[in-house]
Amino acid sequence: MSKKSEILSAKPISRRLFTGGIAAGAALAATGLPTRRARAAAPLKIGVLLPRSGHLALIGQQCQRGADIAVPLLADMGHSVTLMNADIESSPDVARTQAEKLIREGAHVLMGAFQSDATAAIAQVAEQKGIPFIVNIAADPAITEQGYKFTFRNFPTSPMLGMGGMSLFKDIFAATGTTPKTAVLMHVNDSFGMSMLKGIQALTPKLNLPFKIVETIAYDPKARDLSIEVAKAKAAGADMHMVVSRLNDAILMVREMVKQQYEPMGIISPGSPGMYEKQFFKALGKYSEYCITNVPWFDPKQEMTSVLGAAFEKAYPDQSYELNIGFTFEAVLIAADAYKRAGSTDSKALAEALRASNIAKRVMIGGPIQFDEKGQNKNLKSAAVQNRGGKPVVVMPKESAEMAPVFPMPGWKARS
């Protein structure tokens, strides 16, 4: 029998059956329970926009790991979320089209995007379509200065990063009782390095820091060799060596410092990648120790941090457990928390719930996750992270510190 004839020969619905069905439906509607439960059980669809290819692929893939690992962990905590992943190819134009595509395909919330230009493009789309957008990482202050109602950022702006990183210098000196009088600054000459340079030059007198920067050495982040740069830094004879680096150049730089027997009191970054990454430890071994980076970091005193750390180590034993993982995990957590409180995937209800966020149990250092009227979380703090025992360890602020800072650092030859 064909499907059409099956339908035609089906027993017609009787008046009694119809009335009974209506009554049952009304009863269900009155109690409301099964429909609401069904709605709550449906997972929240989070559109994840990250640069998984292109020049930012390494970091984009690292952020993706933070999002991926969040799903099972949050499921254990009673949150139901599913990810809709999109590669923005390190391009703001692709980010825009991918954001539109994810919304068309039913994403309830957007999340991303590591790079500021792409994040700004996604924020525009989110605002036009009225879909909440949670920024995992992007430091351009303008993103939360546009009056957007659907954009929420749980990452410090660049002035917050600069201020947080620079103000920790004084805390380190006070805690160790050692104050350098001079410093040399080696920095990459890309846009990140140059903006950091401007911030450092502006904040050093403003914060009344006790040292004077006697030499500033800019270099290409793709440099094959940093022997001349390090020789120049050594010749400056400064007490402290400050760096704004990326990963490979940070390795080259420290290797040259060892070879040239250049022994400053310490190597401190006011906020740049490189020295806390797994590859840095692998490449330099004992010479990676005692370098300090001032960055937003995991709070070792939070229980959730150890749970996330253990799960990450198990899933990705060869990858660095660093701040990109933490902030991307928190972005998924924020979305899941809002969904739980909103009880709905309605975009306006989700946006209202996001605005009322107050998440004390988190993984990064700082107060509870709360957003101001512009959608910016102001409760974020930087930490001084020192390389100790083959891993980055929080040494400042005191309330989150796992160890006391070591400054000055032991000489190269004194290390075993």
């Binding site: 390494l58 290409d220 060799d225 001349i228 040239q260 490449a283 330099l284």
Partner: protein, 289 residues
């Protein structure tokens, strides 16, 4: 400016330049004989670096001990590449050769990306951090080894081309292609041997460079470009020219970095290149076309 600082800079520039020269030797040898510009030069060096890394991590073989193995492996790779692929384009137009070798370069880059991933890799050896103290000078041990090997390799190559039968036959092919065929030389075989020798030189350079810098798949482009600058400065096809070009680039980078600004180092290398192209287009030790 303190004199010891300046002396240290000059020694560092000289040693780095010799390492650069070693890297460019293979490129110069291949062009000198076959008139083929190897655009996959930097990529072959990256292959050598990964081979050294693999021998170290899998078999515990230190780079200096792995050097003959990697050089032999690269010789076979170069020989096979020439016989299987490049030889088919030997009489093709220059842009066809260029596209072919660029294609080979892209295959190698993406192949290493697939096998080893985008992360930088290195070998961790205690002596990679050592240096010699000679009066006021602090001399990097690895660069001294690399510079010594560069000089030795250049001498060996020069002796090979001057005194061995195969070397003389290769020079004959380079001097007069038709004449070499008329006297019965197996030109295709000799070309493949030359390509293999060039690749072996790249293998030696790659092995030593792994002691100085970490390897990642995208390292190749920079080194291919650097190789071109060096051989054009020294004179395409001249082995001594490759070493001289390397030393000039090393010294210009060191002095400009120390006296002006480190971030302008490359600008001075390219400036030197433009100057040589204007005043002596065949290169400092190159023959007039």
């Amino acid at each position: 400016m303190p004199i010891d600082f300046l002396l240290n800079i000059l020694v560092a520039g000289l040693l780095t330049g010799l390492v650069y020269g070693l890297m460019a030797l293979g490129l110069s040898a291949i062009f000198g004989v076959m008139k083929v510009v190897n655009f996959a030069h930097g990529d072959m060096m990256v292959v050598a670096m990964y081979a050294t890394y693999t021998l170290y991590t899998a078999a515990g073989l230190e780079p200096v001990a792995a050097l003959p193995l990697v050089a032999a492996g690269l010789f076979v790779f170069g020989f096979a590449l020439q016989r299987g692929l490049v030889n088919r384009f030997i009489n093709a137009t220059e842009h066809m050769q260029f596209l072919l070798l660029l294609g080979v370069a892209m295959v190698i880059t993406n192949g290493t990306l697939m096998v080893f991933g985008p992360d930088a890799r290195n070998v961790q050896l205690d002596y990679a951090f050592d240096s010699y103290n000679v009066g006021p000078l602090i001399v990097d041990k690895v660069r001294v080894i690399a510079a010594g090997v560069a000089g030795g390799t250049a001498l060996l190559l020069a002796a090979f081309f001057r005194f061995t039968v195969t070397g003389k036959a290769i020079r004959a092919c380079a001097d007069n292609f038709t004449g070499a065929q008329v006297v019965g030389l197996h030109v295709n075989h000799l070309y493949a041997v030359t390509f293999g020798i060039g690749a072996a030189c790249v293998g030696v350079a790659g092995t030593l460079l792994l002691l100085i810098t970490d390897v990642h798949p995208h390292l190749s482009t920079d080194y291919t470009l650097l190789g071109f600058i060096i051989v054009i400065l020294g004179g395409l096809g001249s082995l001594g020219g490759a070493l001289l070009g390397g030393v000039l680039v090393g010294l210009s980078e060191a002095l400009s970095g120390a006296l002006i600004a480190p971030s302008l180092k490359s600008m001075f290398s390219f400036g030197l290149l433009i100057l040589v192209l204007l005043l002596r287009p065949q290169g400092l030790l190159g023959k007039q076309a």
